[in-house]
């Protein structure tokens, strides 16, 4: 130990919110002479309760990373895109360039400006900017992340995992995790799983790979990628067959007992029978459907007091219309999905599937929880207790990132529902603002006429279609958006399809654009499929020598691979240097027991000329005189971002703004209230977090909890206080199917997409092979290739981090030894991974913890030479590799079209994990270096020097006295 005494130093501790991943933990940042001494989890923060992960604990090395952009940059005249040759310019020049260009586009054809952002946690603001600018071409990263998980569950139970809801492991007895990456909802899930295990809960993990959370599961059930749907349907089959479902829950709280019109000749075929049509329909399920009364043997209005309806059977209405309860249709659907059938597909023995179903069903039935909490349901029935069936699930991209993910996740939602676990103790629980109506109310514009020069977009840039008329298409049914979201190709693409933007814009399909503005997304590398070709598209010119994507603006804090392609680079700050909000208008950090939002408050001044991206948007919005950012006279409305957050209201006088805490003039109100000039200071004084604790009686059964629904309505969370019944049977999907079958009066799909819509918009979940598998030679490419996210890295962000990159410096392809042996591959060999789209060279590492039909690697460790200001010879560029090179952003031409996205046909979710590959040994003469290789880019002007060595000591590091 050093015994030398330190000079007296200035030390202080400040609270803010972490941003080393999307988890958003509360942190305390200790500063010493203005340098970061220590970042610890804030014990008074509800999300992480004092803990902090490897990434959060390495924030120091992000702050002082040599990859930091510190000056606005302009591509040097004559320099090719991708070479990374820049000159630094002033912010004034940068703004002038953008103002001139964007004003011109806005005045002529606003859709020629496209704004797409990464995992930025500020979609409420970026979306607001896009809407006010008037461009439909806006989305964040959700389409290539986990939109299937969001859409699949929200269209089923009105909520989903992670920000939207999650497993109540405090009270669960059985926890089943399926297809979960190790980083999703990282710290809260880690805290919860360990508590759960310590309390004696049983933890089953279903995953092709056993790493991370799966490592500590009581049982690991390896499964073939893309077959989760088959497993879930077989589980539903067995649970129904054994009568292990929660009949009472299904009857009261889902549409299971509601009668479906079974007359194939009727235009209402497959729709619920309604006894009356209310004068005005909102975006909620009207309570106008029928049950079949068991006792009186006749139809009766749903939720008629004292009635016990049939769940199974077929009946005839008095007019002769044949009807069946939705549950009967589900039972018929899963009849074919026996455990034996699923065993062949999933690789899981039928006995295991059966046992799994029994464990779930019996735990749910026999370990019931009764909490002495009185509540009243939406039908005025008073209950003395809250019941819980303690079986909890968690799922993420393993299910979502397949082209059959939406239906798979629908199946998961239905499994969770028939077990009676929705928003109940020990099961799945919502987080505010969820539950939301199925589907939620916001809608996009409906056609090209909603996009007009100098006019805000007539609708939200992203919405939740409820029927074909909600699509955003022109009269011929062609897409209006550059990413073709909300078109017939991917009708429910509620998060957009960012992964197809560059390819579509390059091809000019559906139209060419002028300016592409990318914030914090590495679209030339790990965030794009087909990275090598996309890099060429970014650099491709037309016959006049003009770039096919004429102007490219990249805002980022770091010199990612994408920066090299920019015409204009805007240096963002780090999370320690800026204000931010985790807003109720966006994706807050709510807990099961009530709404929670939080803020970031700068603990350090911006480095160099870094400017928070929010400030850029507000400045730009003010210069462009976008309505939301200017007063009636056109003068600037908000001084800066903090001022905007304080004073913005969703509508004049609505009392709803970005932050829910300390509203009202003196901070005395919450959720709703007039702007409070001292709101930021109040957040700062309170650990930068606002936590609203709902009364206990409002904390459960929220889809149907009258008290909660009325509270949510009163506080502006929802428009209606109507019950949100679970969609076991999805009428929304049936409406699209009917349109595809030509049975509706409204919009109908173009001919070549009819079959696609009819097939995949099935109102009941079904299993189909992922699209790439359907279109590829499975004998030639026998293996599934997937990626996992290491817990110590967030996307591509952390190879610049001196500490984290020592943990993951490069990546191997993990292969089951038996699979490798079949190819004569030895542990550590250089091999080729080849799909029908391309190939990469990498190193193999044997693992017994991977299903033999699967190979996998850590995501985004491989880097392009010189990017992130790493030495061009860094291991990331020479030994690390990116699987994206073998994944295509488009499917091979087939009947639905020549350029259909490699995505889920319902939601447009990027099907990352559908890729099929073969592996073989690299030749002995081949270079022991990963392939493909790219010319190194030089450090961008203004990036800090790349240190040959370092001895970080806070307070001394940048002062030379080491």
């Amino acid at each position: 130990m050093n015994t030398t005494t330190e000079q007296p130093v200035h030390e202080e501790v400040r609270t803010t919110t972490c941003y080393m991943c999307a988890c958003r933990c509360g942190i305390k940042v200790h500063l010493k002479n203005g340098e970061v001494r220590f970042i610890e989890g804030n014990p008074d923060h509800p999300l992480n309760q004092g803990v902090l992960c490897a990434k959060g604990s390495s924030g120091i090395m992000k702050q002082y990373s040599p990859a930091r952009l510190t000056k606005p940059l302009r591509r040097k005249a004559g320099a090719e895109r991708g070479r990374g040759e820049f000159e630094d310019i002033s912010w004034d020049e940068a703004f002038a360039i953008m103002e001139e260009r964007l004003a011109k586009i806005r005045a002529t054809d606003p859709k020629k400006f496209a704004l797409f952002t990464g995992r930025d946690q500020m979609q409420a603001l970026t979306g607001l900017f896009a809407k006010n600018y008037g461009t439909p071409n806006y989305a964040a990263h959700g389409g290539f992340c986990s939109v299937n998980m969001a859409a699949g569950l929200i269209y089923t139970i009105g909520g989903s995992f992670w920000e939207f809801g999650g497993p109540d492991l405090d009270r669960a007895k059985l926890f089943v995790m399926i297809g979960t990456a190790e980083d999703h909802h990282s710290n809260p899930l880690k805290i919860a799983i360990s508590k759960f295990k310590r309390n004696g809960g049983r933890f089953i993990s279903i995953n092709p790979v056993r790493t991370g959370y799966s490592a500590i599961a009581d049982e690991w059930i390896p499964i073939k990628p893309g077959t989760d749907g088959a497993l879930l349907l077989a589980l539903i089959h067995e649970i129904i067959k054994q009568g292990l479902y929660d009949r009472d829950f299904l009857t009261k709280y889902s549409n299971a007992a509601e009668l479906v019109n079974m007359d194939p000749k009727s235009p209402e075929y497959g729709m619920f029978v309604r006894f009356e049509v209310p004068p005005e329909e909102g975006c909620f399920d009207a309570q106008n459907k029928l049950w079949w009364d068991r006792e009186l043997n006749r139809p009766v209005s749903t939720h008629t007091l004292g009635v016990d309806p049939r769940l199974l059977g077929e009946f005839k209405l008095s007019d002769g219309t044949p009807v069946k309860p939705a549950f009967q249709l589900l039972a018929e659907r899963v009849e074919q999905y026996t455990p034996e059938w699923a065993a062949d597909i999933t690789g899981i023995p039928a006995e295991t599937i059966r046992r799994l179903a029994h464990e779930m069903g019996i735990t749910a039935r026999d370990e019931k929880i009764e909490l002495p909490i009185a509540w009243t349901d939406a039908w005025d029935v008073e209950h003395k207790t809250i019941t819980g069936n303690p079986v909890a699930f968690h799922a993420m991209r393993g299910l979502a990132a397949h082209s059959n993910g939406f239906q798979t996740i629908r199946a998961l939602g239905i499994l969770m529902s028939i077990l009676g676990t929705i928003d109940r103790p020990g099961g799945f629980r919502h987080k505010a603002p969820f539950p939301r109506p199925i589907p939620p109310c916001p809608k996009t514009p409906k056609g090209p006429e909603d996009v007009q020069p100098n006019t805000p977009l007539n609708g939200m840039p992203l919405g939740w279609p409820a029927d074909p008329d909600d699509l955003f298409v022109d009269e011929q049914g062609n897409p209006v958006r550059i990413d073709k979201a909300f078109s017939w190709e991917y009708p429910l693409s509620v998060h957009g399809l960012m992964h197809n933007v560059i390819t579509n814009a390059w091809r000019g399909d559906p139209y060419p654009i002028d300016t592409l503005f990318i914030f914090m997304a590495n679209m030339s590398w790990n965030s794009t499929m087909n990275a090598e070709q996309v890099r060429k598209m970014l650099n491709d010119k037309d016959e006049n020598g003009e770039y096919k994507i004429p102007f490219l603006i990249v805002a980022d804090a770091f010199q990612s691979e994408m920066v090299a392609f920019a015409d204009l680079v805007l240096p963002d700050t780090t999370y320690l240097e800026r204000h931010d909000v985790m807003s109720m208008l966006d994706r807050p950090i709510s807990e099961f027991d009530g709404p929670v939002d939080s803020v970031r408050i700068p603990v350090l001044p911006p480095t160099g000329e870094c400017k928070p991206f929010q400030e850029v948007l507000i400045e730009l919005g003010s210069r462009l005189k976008l309505p939301v950012f200017v007063n009636a006279d056109g003068s600037r409305k908000y001084r800066d971002y903090p001022d905007f957050i304080t004073n913005f209201e969703t509508a004049p006088g609505s009392g709803i703004g970005f932050l829910a805490g300390w509203r009202g003039k003196g901070g005395e109100k919450s959720m709703r209230g007039e702007p409070n000039p001292n709101q930021w200071q109040m957040y700062e004084k309170n650990n930068c977090v606002f936590h609203y604790h709902l009364p206990k009686s409002y904390q459960y059964m929220r889809n149907w909890n009258q008290g909660y629904l009325q509270w949510a309505q009163a506080h502006g969370l929802t428009r209606y206080a109507e019950p949100i019944n679970i969609h076991i049977y999805s009428e929304v999907l049936q409406k699209f199917r009917l349109a595809a079958q030509g049975k509706t009066d409204g919009r109908q799909p173009p001919q070549h997409l009819r079959k696609r819509i009819e097939t995949y918009f099935d109102p009941l979940p079904f299993f189909y092979e992922p699209l790439e598998s359907q279109l590829s030679d499975k004998h030639k490419y026998p293996l599934n290739a997937v990626t996992q996210r290491p817990m110590a890295m967030y996307h591509s962000w952390d190879s610049q981090n001196a500490w984290l990159r020592q943990i993951h410096t490069y990546n191997y392809l993990y292969v089951n030894p038996k699979t490798a042996a079949a190819q004569g591959i030895a542990d550590g060999d250089w091999i080729w991974v080849e799909s029908m789209h391309g190939k990469v060279r990498c190193m193999a590492r044997f693992s017994e913890a991977v299903e033999p039909g699967t190979v996998w690697t850590w995501n985004a460790i491989g880097k392009a030479a010189g990017a992130w200001n790493l030495d061009p010879n860094a291991n990331e560029a020479k030994q690390g590799f990116l699987l994206n090179h073998v994944i295509s952003e488009e499917l091979p031409a087939h009947e639905a079209g020549a350029h259909v996205s490699n995505s889920d046909p319902v939601t447009g979710q990027a099907a990352w994990y559908d890729v099929r590959v073969r592996i073989y040994k690299a030749g002995p003469e081949e270079e022991k270096v990963t392939w493909p290789q790219f010319d190194p880019v030089p450090p961008a002007p203004g990036t800090p020097p790349r240190r040959a060595w370092q001895n970080y000591f806070a307070g001394k590091f940048n002062r030379g006295d080491k």
Binding site: S194, K195, L311
Partner: protein
């Protein structure tokens, strides 16, 4: 006599490396710092760390266990690294059993590290002195830190609470109870080093289903009046008068 130590629960460790970097960030700017990083942005980056998380696979597919295994200095009760030090730089504190290195006395001869079977010591390639886990001795007694946070950085950061900290000589301490009740064990007991740090093994929760749990009177299927088809064969019923 007090013997402070860590108890690491392999039953809940998910291998997230939080302990690795929280240790690094605390100690690089603390009394043990700075902690050198060589080639931090180049080929083969390497640096001084007191704590590493390793991964092992046990068994063969599909009966595979993946074990994440954090390892730092075990603060042995009979620490073999201490007596071999020629200068007295390595020492074990009487008051709390922490094994420390006095950097001002260390000559960087590495002999202590050779005498450690666990590979717990690392030579700082810049200062050229031996470094190792200090159990955050500059945190755990710091009165300016709130009492419940006066624990090693790895312990307060660990998201799964897999790291317990306390006095293993106090039979009533949390760590002693955990060792006693959960089969806590020491690494390489064959050398008699008596590591103060202990590890808790994996524990499995299983479920047993009795067949009769699948056939119950309240089976909801019974409410659906599933009627069995009438038999077409002749039965006794047709004959008996």
């Amino acid at each position: 006599m007090t013997q402070l130590a860590l108890v690491i629960d392999l039953n809940v460790c998910v291998g997230c490396h939080a302990c690795v970097t929280s240790c690094k960030q605390w100690n690089t700017s603390g009394q043990a710092g700075p902690m050198f990083d060589d080639n931090p942005y180049g080929k083969d980056p390497t640096g001084t760390f007191f704590n590493r998380v390793q991964t092992f696979e046990v068994g063969e597919f599909p009966c595979t266990e993946t074990v994440h295994f954090p390892k730092s200095c075990l603060h042995c009760e009979d620490a073999p690294c201490v007596p071999v030090c020629p200068t007295g730089a390595s020492y074990k504190r009487k008051e709390d059993g922490i094994v420390l290195v006095d950097y001002d006395k260390c000559i960087g001869c590495k002999y202590c590290s050779w005498a450690c079977p666990y590979g717990a010591r690392e030579l700082d390639e810049n200062q050229k002195v031996m470094k190792k886990c200090t159990l955050c001795v500059d945190r755990i007694y710091d009165q300016s830190i709130p009492e419940d946070r006066r624990k090693p950085a790895c312990v307060i950061s660990c998201p799964t609470g897999a790291r317990l900290f306390g006095d293993v000589h106090d039979p009533d301490s949390e760590v002693s109870i955990a060792i006693r009740e959960n089969g806590g064990y020491q690494l390489m007991p064959e050398w008699g080093t008596k590591p103060a740090n202990h590890y808790l093994p994996r524990r499995k929760t299983k479920m047993h289903i009795h067949e009769d749990e699948l056939t119950r009177a309240d089976n909801p299927l019974r409410k659906e009046d599933i009627r069995h088809e009438t038999s077409k064969d002749t039965t006794l019923d047709d004959w008996l008068m």
